[in-house]
Every structure is written in C-alpha cells, then in structure tokens.
Amino acid sequence: MARPGDLKVEDITVRFSGLTALDRISLAVEAGEVVGIIGPNGAGKTTLFNVICGFVRPESGQITYRGQPLLGLPTHRLIRLGIARTLQGLGLWPSLTVLENVVAGAARRPSFGAALFGGRSSMRMERQLVQEAGELLSELGIAQAASAYPRSLPYGVQKRVSIARALMARPSLLLLDEPASGLSQREVSELAQLVAGVRQTAALAIVDHNVDLVTEVSDRVVVLNFGRVIASGTPQEIRADPNVAEAYLGEPAVAQGDSGDA
C-alpha cells in the first residue's frame, strides 16, 4: 500500500498583479502527519494548494515531494506521485454516476487498444476498479448512492464522494480543501472520524475555516494571515497563541490588500 507522504514547501511567494497572496511561505507535511492550515478569508490558504497543484505559478520558492521538485510539473502527473486533492467546489462530474466518478479517480487504466476492441484485459481491469470503488464507497458509508448522479444527492454525500474519488488513487498525501464547509455539526464530526481513518495510509494537509475541526484532527496547525505564516505548532499551542486570536477576532485596521481566496 501507499506510504505516507513528505511534502516540503520552501519560501513560496505568489503575487497577483502586485498583490502579494503568499509571502515567503514555508511549511512541511511529514510522513504520516496531519497538518491543518487555517486563517481568515483571503489569507492565501487555497492559493497555497493551487501552487502545490501547479495551477498557480509562484514568483519564487521551491516545493518538493519526497525529494522530487513539484513546480513545473503538469497537474495530471501529481496523482502518480501519490498526491490527491479535493476541491472546494467538489468538482464531481455530473454526467457520471457516483460509482463512475470514483472509478475515474483511479490513475490506472487498461490500454486504448483493449478499450477499443473490448478486450479481456480491459474488462478484467474495469471489474477490478468497480470492485475497489464499491468497497471504498462502503467504507465511506455511501454505497447506496453508487448508481445515483452526484447532483441528485445531499451535499454531505457529495462531499464523501469527492473524498472517495481522491482516495481511489491510493494517495500517500491527500490535500483536503475546505472539507467541512457546508456540513452540519454531525457531518463534521463524521468527517473527523474519516480523517482519522485516512491517516492510516496517507499524510494529510487540511485547509479549513472550521478551527474546531482542524485543531481536533491535526498533529500540527499552521496559521496564515495576509499570505504569511503567523503561527505554527501543536493545536494546544495555536489555541493559546495571542497572534492567532488577533488574526481571527481583533484589530480590523491593517487591511491594505486582501488577496481574496483564489
């Protein structure tokens, strides 16, 4: 099975037309670790994920995964390195069923020729992927939704589907982008259980607004504000940090440039 990940982000700076979205950000996700990334709106959390995934090109800095540089790598190659990501908007494919959505998350597939002629190897692999996807759906408790189309399902179920799709590639590092947004209190606590399960096989980086969730599931928490790391440490340390409280609660004076959560 997949081994845990080891992501290093060093001195990443991103500017959008003069606006500094990320300012010399450095952080690491060690093997087997769960790292939470929190911060107010516009702090640059999602931008950071977009840099890791190759959607945004940083002005300077370096990102490596298990020693291999990620910058300049086409996005579709990430999954073969073991990096999977969920999207804030989920990005489920509406014209595929839930099962097909999850099966398509697998980075493995038979050859084109086998598919063209409906060959046996193609069939065998399909069957295997369908079985794997089915088991994954069962584990996430949404097996009954297998044949439904994503848009017909409640939001919480869709969220699970998007996580199942990301897990289908057997990642060693899973990036969760706002997994708790739009979920009920109960669904959030189910999500925490799910994260605890996933961390058996993969390291996780979680971006979210929900401070309670992040501090509950993370080994380490990194707090961003205005594109900078303002605090980093264990959940207990973060809770006690006055800088963090200020970023979230007080002093609304400085706002000279909010990058917007891109």
Binding site: H76, T97, P110, V130, G141, Q144, S147
Partner: protein, 364 residues
C-alpha cells in the same frame, strides 16, 4: 434525505460486486458485436426486398451514421464543438480519389483504411492546434477549416481536379452474388458493415475508461487534471478518433457519389452533421443513427410531398430546409435529449417511477 445519510453511514454495509456490475451496465462487450451481426443480417435481408433506389439511400444513411457517430464522440461526449467535419470528410474523400487514381485496382478495404489513417492524421494536427480553444473559439476555428479546406481543391486544381473534382469508379459487386446484383446494393452492404463496425468500436470505447474520461473532461477539467487525466491529450484523442470516422465516411461518400468534388463538402454538410446529432440525441450513438435517418429521409419525404401537392418548385426546393429547421427547434425545445432521449424517457417512465418508490422506502 439528510436523515437518510446518517442511516446509510451507520449501516455501512457492503454491496455485492455483481449488483454494482449491473448498476453501471458494463456487460460483456461481445454483446455489441452480437447485436451488430443481427442488425447486419436484418439489413441484408431488407436490402433484397427494396428497390435499388432505397439501397442507394441506405448507403447514404450508413455514411452519415459513421460521420455523425464520430462527431457524437467529439461534440456530444467530449463537449468539443466541430463545425469542420465536412472538411474532414473531404480529406477522406480526396484520399480515396487520389489513391484510386494512381492505383485503380487497390483493394477497397485498403483504400478505406488509408482514408481513415490520413484523416485521423489531419485530425491529430488540427486537434493539437485547437487543444487550447474552447467553446465559441473552437467553433470559429473549425468553421474556418470547413471554409478553407474545399478552397484548397480549387487552388491546387491540377492535383485535386478543381471544381469538377476527381471521378471515382463505384465498386462493382463480386460475381458470386449473381449477375443481377446491383452495385447500389453492394455499396449499401459495404457502407452498412462499415457503419456497424464503427458503432461497435465506438460503443466499446464509450463503455470503457475512454468514455468516462471524455465525459469527465467535458464536465470539469480541473477535477479531471487532479484525477490524473491528461486533459489536453484526451481532447486531441477525441479529435483523432472523430476525424478517423469522418475519413471513413468521406471515403464511402466519394464511392457513393462517384466523385470527390469540393461542392459536396461545404459548410452545409458540417452543419447537417451537427443537426443530425442534436436531433438524434446529443452524446448518444443510437441518437446518431436516428439523426442520420432524419437527415436522409426528410428531403426524400418532402420531395414526394411536394410533388403530391403539386407545389411550385421554388417552395418544394426549400421545403426540406424548412422542415429541418422546424424539427431542430422542436427537438431542442421539447426533447433536449433528442429522439433517443425522448424514446428513453418514454420507455423509462414507468420503470423509474417504480424505482423511485423503492428507493424512498429503503431510505425512509
């Protein structure tokens, strides 16, 4: 529903694989082949019962089916619009004509395969060039292709025969079929077999990861990239497959007309193909068949209607166009899923109602 989610979560039960298999409908792909053989036998029998004019029409339908099915994959399934498929058919037709000009005795199967290959090659070049274009920009680029390519035939008239085009001898039926066997019926057979082979191969692709991936790229490119799908390559692949089909259709079209000439491959042809897949049902291979039938039968029916009603020729000549427009509007407004979507809805109405009942009971 929200309550149901929690219940589902807690039960967390395993679903037997066999039932999941049924859910996705991935039955052994040999069924496509078996079905095609049955259809072929039926059409062969049919072709003996009807006039050679009907056989001539049958071949035309088959030609359109091939091109429309290829366009279905590109536009219907992968979401890339092409207004240039008429031009790609021209590539196939001219390949056939030029090949037969230099080697008149070449086996027809080789001529057809070569036409597929060259047109797929043209599709590759165009697909790579168009890979970054989306929506209306892609439509514009393909429209430019449709307008420009026939002009090449006029510009290099010594090679392509200019306005008159290059004549082609229609294939003659082998002697073992008997002396009275018409060349129309023979061409109908060949075209129908070619269409069925195309449909089987495309159906195989649609049921495999290729179909899934094409849809995923159409639905959400960002999610596709994150799932490890090379979006650019898939879009080019769709172009290549679709162009290969257009090449086969173009080659058979040239045999059918007995000529490869620029006038046959106007923008109108490209638009007709698009109309066919929309009327038939966008994204469905069976829909491509319905659309092609409409495309061939409407001018025929309106022709006999006009002569029956003694309409003046100025009206009669434009009647097919008017009816196309009418059918297209009705299809878009009333049947967004086209003919195939409408049929499916009718057939599935009772069944889905029953199923919804079942689901509600289970989750409640």
């Amino acid at each position: 529903m929200r309550k149901a989610v929690g219940a589902v979560r807690q039960s967390g039960r395993r679903v037997p694989v066999a039932s999941l298999w049924g859910v996705v409908g991935r039955r052994p792909l040999a069924r496509h082949g078996l079905f095609a053989v049955l259809v072929a036998i039926a059409i062969v029998i049919f072709s003996y019962q009807v006039s050679s004019y009907t056989n001539y029409n049958l071949a035309e339908v088959a030609v359109f089916v091939i091109a429309a099915a290829g366009l279905t994959l590109l536009t219907g399934v992968n979401g890339q619009i092409s207004l240039g498929h008429g031009a790609l058919m021209a590539v196939g037709a001219y390949t056939t004509a030029l090949l037969l000009k230099s080697q008149p005795n070449l086996a027809m199967i080789l001529v057809l395969l070569t036409s597929v290959a060259t047109t797929a090659g043209a599709g590759l070049i165009f697909g790579v060039a168009a890979a970054r274009l989306r929506g209306p920009y892609l439509a514009g680029a393909t429209l430019a292709l449709a307008l420009a390519l026939p002009q090449l035939a006029l510009h290099f008239s010594s090679l392509f025969g200019g306005e008159e085009g290059i004549p082609i001898t229609p294939p003659s039926a082998p002697s073992w079929l008997g002396a009275t066997f018409s060349s129309e019926q023979w061409l109908a057979w060949i075209s129908v077999v070619a269409a069925l082979v195309t449909l089987v191969l495309l159906a195989n692709l649609m049921r495999s990861w290729v179909g899934r991936t094409l849809k995923a790229v159409r639905d959400d490119e960002v999610a596709a990239l994150l799932a490890g799908i090379n979006v650019g390559r898939i879009q080019v692949l769709a172009f290549v497959i679709s162009a290969g089909c257009a090449g086969l259709a173009g080659a058979l079209f040239a045999y059918w007309v007995g000529l490869a000439a620029p006038a046959a491959f106007s923008v109108t042809l490209s638009l007709q193909l698009l109309i066919a897949i929309v009327i038939g049902g966008l994204g469905s291979l069976v829909g491509a068949v319905w659309g092609s039938l409409v495309l061939v039968m409407v001018p025929d029916l309106t022709g006999s209607l006009a002569s029956g009603l003694n309409l003046p020729s100025s009206i009669a000549n434009n009647l097919p166009l008017a009816i196309f427009g009418l059918v297209l509007m009705v299809a878009i407004l009333a049947f967004p899923g086209g003919i195939q979507g409408g049929l499916k809805r009718l057939a599935g109405l009772g069944r889905s109602r029953w199923r919804q009942h079942g689901l509600r009971r289970e989750s409640g």
